[in-house]
């Protein structure tokens, strides 16, 4: 987003939210995402065009987040729909002028955890989980051949996986990830550091195995 577009976006937000110059301090560091904040403000005012635009822009990121966590496309589709219904229900809790992406991710995270909890509690869910864990093992098995994100992140615990997805795939800042995961920036840094250590180890081992096979 260019400087002029950024300035237009800020004016637009002021117009829609009446936040005046207050939005400046929240807004400056995150100008590339500023359109999301404007769209959220318009969504709260009942603008359907803004909702459609938001769905088109945020859904791919949330879908990726669920794919990395749940490994099944059907599950990710279901979770995405459930997340949007939840977002719609609690849209009044978004504060105009605040970063929108952590708000979306916090709700998506809640939906994922809730879904996981429910599936653990139902007998059918237990079977699904078993299948999912087998799927995850199978994905890990495919590691040597497929460069997919879920395969790369398979060795990481869930909490580290979601942090890496938000930081490196969604391109969120440490502060935004901390907000989305209800934790401190220090804790996010620590998780990212541990995840990178594990990834480095896994990738190095994999590289050595490939060298051995080739040579």
């Amino acid at each position: 987003m260019g400087r002029q577009a950024c300035s237009e976006a800020k004016n637009d937000l002021r117009e829609h939210t009446g936040t005046g110059n207050d939005c400046k301090k929240v807004f400056e560091p995150m100008c590339p995402e500023s359109n999301l904040e404007i769209l959220m403000a318009r969504y709260q005012q009942g603008d359907y065009a803004a909702v459609s635009d938001l769905i088109g822009r945020v859904s791919p990121q949330l879908h990726r987040f669920f794919l990395v966590q749940s490994a099944s496309r059907a599950d990710a589709d279901d979770l995405l729909q459930e997340t949007w219904l939840r977002i719609h229900k609690v849209r009044h809790t978004y504060r105009p002028g605040e970063a929108a992406l952590p708000w979306f991710y916090a709700i998506a995270r809640y939906v994922r955890v809730d879904h996981y909890r429910k599936s653990v509690r139902t007998a059918a869910g237990e079977r699904e989980l078993e299948a999912m864990s087998k799927g995850a093992v199978a994905v890990a098995g495919k590691f040597d051949h497929v460069e997919s994100l879920d395969a790369l992140l398979a060795p990481l615990p869930e909490s580290q996986r979601e942090v890496i997805e938000m930081l490196k795939v969604a391109g969120m800042s440490l502060e935004e990830v901390a907000r989305a995961t209800s934790s401190s920036v220090g804790s996010v840094k620590q998780k990212a550091h541990r995840a990178y250590a594990k990834l480095r180890e896994t990738m190095t081992t994999r590289g050595k195995a490939e060298d051995y096979r080739e040579g």
Binding site: Q44, Q45, G46, Y48, V51, I55, G56, S59, P60, H63, R64, L67, V68, R73, A76, D77, L80, Q81, W84, L85, H88, V90, R91, H92, T93, Y94, R95, P96, E98, P102, W103, Y105, A106, I107, R109, Y110, R117, K118, R121, T122, A123, A124, G125, E147, S148, L149, L152, I164, K168, V169, E175, A178, R179, S182, S183, S184, Y196, M203, T204, G207
Partner: protein
């Protein structure tokens, strides 16, 4: 392998993930369209926190007005200043934290557990510094009365706080319950400090301070039970037999 190389691998791998289909996005948009209407955003955070602080003050004063301000009358200026400043500061912190818990994606300064630990430890330290009467009379029987009195006042304070923030959305209901309980517990301690004229160090340190963790634990337990009940109803719907 360098961090930048791992970044590249992750970015490339991220591009391989499929996007949701246009049909999925359309079905999401359609499901929202039917119930789309303007909503009023939540009030500013400072207003909500001030509201929570007012609730705590109102419950404490109402409780003490009914039982008598014997403790407050017996305190000297320094004791009043330190005890009530500590209570106001931690009630404000708990109120701010509760507001954060009820708004997704809020900035977090203190975790609910850290807040509970800090509030309990600070009250303990203030009481230990101020109250130096090391005798004990009827430690258990008198102490239980104070604990119950504090807890009885913590319950309405927590419920009123929950009522004020009912439009919020707790992404972690157990954490929100813990903070609401901590806030109520501080209101309960407020009642005890205004009312209880027993300044024996052991009594104040153990029984007055214990109201905060007891109330916080009860708040977390209620929130957990509610979440569990919600999960059970889902299970019953999934397996009616």
């Amino acid at each position: 392998m360098k961090d930048e190389e791992i970044d590249d691998v992750l970015r490339q791998a991220g591009r391989t993930l499929p996007d949701p289909t246009p049909a999925t996005l359309q079905s999401v948009a359609d499901s929202i369209k039917t119930s789309l209407r303007p909503v009023r955003p939540l009030p500013p955070q400072w207003a909500l926190t001030a509201g929570l602080l007012l609730i705590c003050a109102a419950v404490s004063l109402a409780g003490a007005a009914r039982a008598g301000f014997f403790g407050f009358e017996k305190m000297d200026i320094l004791e009043r200043l330190l005890v009530f400043s500590a209570l106001v500061i931690f009630a404000w912190l708990a109120g701010a934290e509760f507001t954060h818990e009820m708004i997704p994606g809020s900035r977090r300064r203190l975790s609910p557990g850290a807040l509970l630990g800090l509030a309990s430890a600070a009250l303990f330290a203030v009481f230990a510094f101020l109250f130096r009467d090391y005798q004990t009379h009827h430690f258990i029987s008198v102490g239980i009365v104070c604990l119950v009195t504090g807890f009885i006042h913590a319950v309405p304070a927590s419920l009123l706080a929950w009522l004020l923030l009912r439009r919020g959305f707790a992404v972690n209901s157990v954490a929100a319950g813990l903070v609401a309980g901590t806030l109520g517990g501080l209101a309960g301690v407020g009642v005890l400090e205004l009312h209880c004229p027993n300044f024996e160090a052991a009594h104040v340190l153990v029984w007055h301070t214990a109201v905060v963790p007891l109330s916080a634990g009860a708040g977390a337990l209620v929130a957990w039970a509610q979440r569990f009940r919600a999960g059970s109803s889902v299970r019953e719907r999934a397996n009616p037999e």
